[in-house]
């Protein structure tokens, strides 16, 4: 594992790289590398056994500089076009979780030719009538001054799931973990708060532009992005298979079931 900073338009973009082989761009979600931890999770390490995983921290997350001009998801997409230029990535596999999945889908509808294969895991970004994405902002405010049980419940299969308790403990966690969590929420408030929450209305009608094969993965008990969003992605992306459900997992599938999820992804990429 090695971390390094790119400089793009005077702003620092922090990224981690791991493994050899075909490039895979990984865009993080909430319970994830950069948004909570400064290192890879087992899921990424397993992916890195068969490809070169590149995981940038979103603007304002981890050691990436904040960009006050980010107002809407389009601004993040443009940021990533510049990251791709800097990395000289013309064609790559793209894997995104949650907000990272939303960015991935937005990139794919604009530049389908750049994507070899697309994997969306619990991706936000869609508006599905009657199935609003959860309010992570309110749930990030502790109950009784110190409990994050409802936040854990939203992001994992249950509030006392072991990974959930380790990543989002009650009271005060490790200072830097807390800061990374805050940074991710701050970026989310820029792009995902309005409209409430985490969607771009036109995205749905643009999904038909995606040409690459796509794999859509959802946790059986996703309490943050309803499963109907996964079904919609799977239905509207032309080259997508059936929605893959990981049983027993919540929103953070790749944390709760790293081996199973990584295996699904690796097999899809190697097909």
């Amino acid at each position: 594992m090695s971390g390094r900073a790119l400089e793009i338009n005077g702003r620092k973009v922090w990224l981690l790289e791991n493994g050899d082989g075909a490039p895979l761009l990984y865009l993080h979600g909430f319970a994830d590398v950069h948004s909570l931890k400064d290192s890879w999770l087992p899921f990424h390490e397993q992916l890195a056994q068969s490809c070169r995983v590149i995981a940038p921290a979103h603007p304002g997350c981890a050691q990436s500089d904040e960009n006050k001009d980010v107002d809407v998801i389009e601004d993040v997409v443009f940021h990533y076009l510049e990251v791709l230029d800097a990395l000289r990535l013309d064609k790559f596999d793209l894997v995104g979780h949650c907000l990272g999945g939303w960015i991935a889908a937005e990139l794919a509808v604009r530049h389908p030719e750049k994507i070899r294969k697309l994997v969306l895991i619990g991706a936000s970004g869609l508006f599905v009538q009657g199935a609003l994405i959860g309010d992570i902002f309110m749930n990030a405010q502790p109950e009784f001054g110190s409990s994050y049980a409802t936040l854990r419940e939203m992001l994992f299969s249950s509030a006392d799931q072991p990974n959930a308790l380790e990543m989002f403990p009650d009271g005060k966690g490790e200072l830097e973990d807390e800061v990374r969590r805050y940074q991710m929420l701050r970026l989310s408030s820029r792009v995902g708060f309005k409209p409430p929450y985490f969607y771009n209305l036109p995205l749905k009608n643009r999904l038909h532009r995606i040409t690459s094969p796509a794999l859509i993965i959802w946790g059986e008990k996703d309490g943050f992005v309803p499963r109907s969003h996964g079904e919609t992605f799977a239905k509207l992306i032309p080259n997508s298979g059936e929605l893959k459900i990981i049983s027993g997992a919540g929103h953070s599938v790749h944390v709760e079931k790293p081996e199973e999820t990584a295996k699904l992804v690796s097999e899809f990429l190697q097909q």
């Binding site: 309110m138 009784f144 929420l185 970026l187 820029r190």
Partner: protein
């Protein structure tokens, strides 16, 4: 301006008094005439010689029933004649176009014959959720809006505002405010150095939004004084204000007996969701990420999870220690507030008299006793203190306002 008709089991049954508090609890049979009662209380303050009447903006809650303080201010322009009308303030990021605030404030200044004190506030956690206002850029939006409003009052129009958040091609305010160069501007804050700095740069007044008054109030005053000096300005007590509550009755014992129900209603119901850890405290936290990450890191270093907030006090002694609600005979209240003024060197006291479900007649009695027996002492003592400590100060400026 609380909703005073909640059942006794509200705290037990309901999760919050803010944002999600079920509006089926609103009861027209009980609430008919409530606004009139509150407006009459404010008008009474004017009759009693208070320097002003303070209004503020809140949404979707039982704590303050003033989503639009400008409407109450409008009524006050018609039924009062002397005191300042202090709106503290309009929550600028909640408005799509700041010109609406500039226009309404200008109208109110005209309608009140130049009695408006124009407050601007960015709004806090609950309002973020009420109006779906993204947090990360609220401070930038707020200051752009505030500066645009003041410019629209002072610069000849039409001009184009080439702003980041509120670009406008034709800014041309009709009417203009009556006060020149423009109505006094007051800004509330919670000791953030950046807010103090922005206030100092513009020569506005700073209000501490905290409700508890221990050493922190004194520290806030010192910090603000330092910031002013850094900007070539000088502190004087009327640049600074605090928010407090009081209840005055004939004796200490009677005061406590008369106000206690209203006080607990206020603390346990009205502050639930705001200044209580029970339920979900929406006012400050990572879900409302309006400060930069570096500032959050500093805050987290000393953050104590589960620490008690004002509404978590469990008994009268703890409440007294918080110096948030000062209760007693005129002598007791005068002595305690005088001590607070002496230490915090504060010239503007925003005083809440009606607490929770306190009956109208008690709130009015307390206001009268305060005006007759407490205010003269405070004015006298602070006059001596301020003229000694701040030679050249204009003591004619307001000293107390009713909230």
């Amino acid at each position: 301006m609380a909703y005073p008709y909640l059942d006794k089991d509200f705290d037990e049954k309901e999760y919050s008094g803010w944002v999600t508090v079920p509006n089926k609890l609103w009861d027209n049979n009980k609430a008919r005439g409530l606004y009139q009662e509150y407006i009459d209380q404010l008008a009474l303050a004017d009759e009693l010689g208070f320097d002003g009447m303070v209004l503020n903006e809140h949404h979707q809650n039982i704590y303050g029933l003033m989503p639009s303080p400008n409407m109450i201010a409008s009524a006050l322009t018609q039924c009062t004649s002397r005191g300042k009308i202090v709106i503290l303030g309009n929550l600028l990021p909640l408005h799509m176009n700041p010109m609406r605030v500039a226009e309404e404030y200008a109208m109110l200044d005209q309608m009140s014959n130049g009695r408006l004190i124009a407050g601007f506030a960015p709004g806090g956690g609950p309002e973020t959720f009420n109006y779906d206002v993204p947090s990360a850029n609220t401070r930038e939006k707020f200051w752009e809006a505030a500066d645009l409003i003041v410019r629209s009052w002072t610069d000849d129009g039409p001009f184009a505002h080439e702003g980041r958040y509120y670009p406008l091609r034709y800014v041309n305010l009709w009417p203009k405010p009556l006060q020149k160069p423009f109505p006094p501007v007051w800004i509330p804050g919670s000791r953030s150095p950046s807010t103090m700095t922005e206030v100092a740069k513009r020569g506005y007044c700073y209000f501490l939004s905290s409700r508890s008054h221990g050493g922190e109030t004194h520290r806030a005053q010192q910090e603000f004084a330092q910031v002013l000096e850094k900007h070539g300005d000088q502190y004087q007590p009327f640049r600074f204000g605090i928010l407090m509550s009081t209840y005055v009755a004939e004796t200490d014992q009677q005061a406590r007996a008369e106000c206690e129900e209203g006080v607990w209603y206020f603390l346990k119901n009205c502050l639930k969701g705001h200044l209580r850890k029970v339920g979900r405290q929406l006012t400050y936290g990572p879900g409302v990420p309006y400060i930069p990450a570096a500032a959050w890191r500093e805050y987290m270093k000393s953050y104590q999870p589960g620490r008690k907030l004002l509404g978590d006090v469990e008994n009268w002694e703890e409440l007294e220690a918080s110096q948030s609600i000062i209760v007693g005979s005129p002598e007791t209240v005068a002595r305690r507030i005088s001590a607070l003024i002496e230490k915090a060197k504060v010239g503007n006291l925003l005083i809440q008299f009606q607490l929770g479900n306190m009956p109208d007649h008690l709130a009015r009695k307390s206001m009268k006793l305060f005006a007759e027996k407490v205010a003269p002492i405070l004015r006298h003592d602070s006059l001596i203190q301020f003229t000694k400590e701040y030679p050249g100060i204009n003591v004619e400026q307001s000293a107390q306002a009713v909230h």
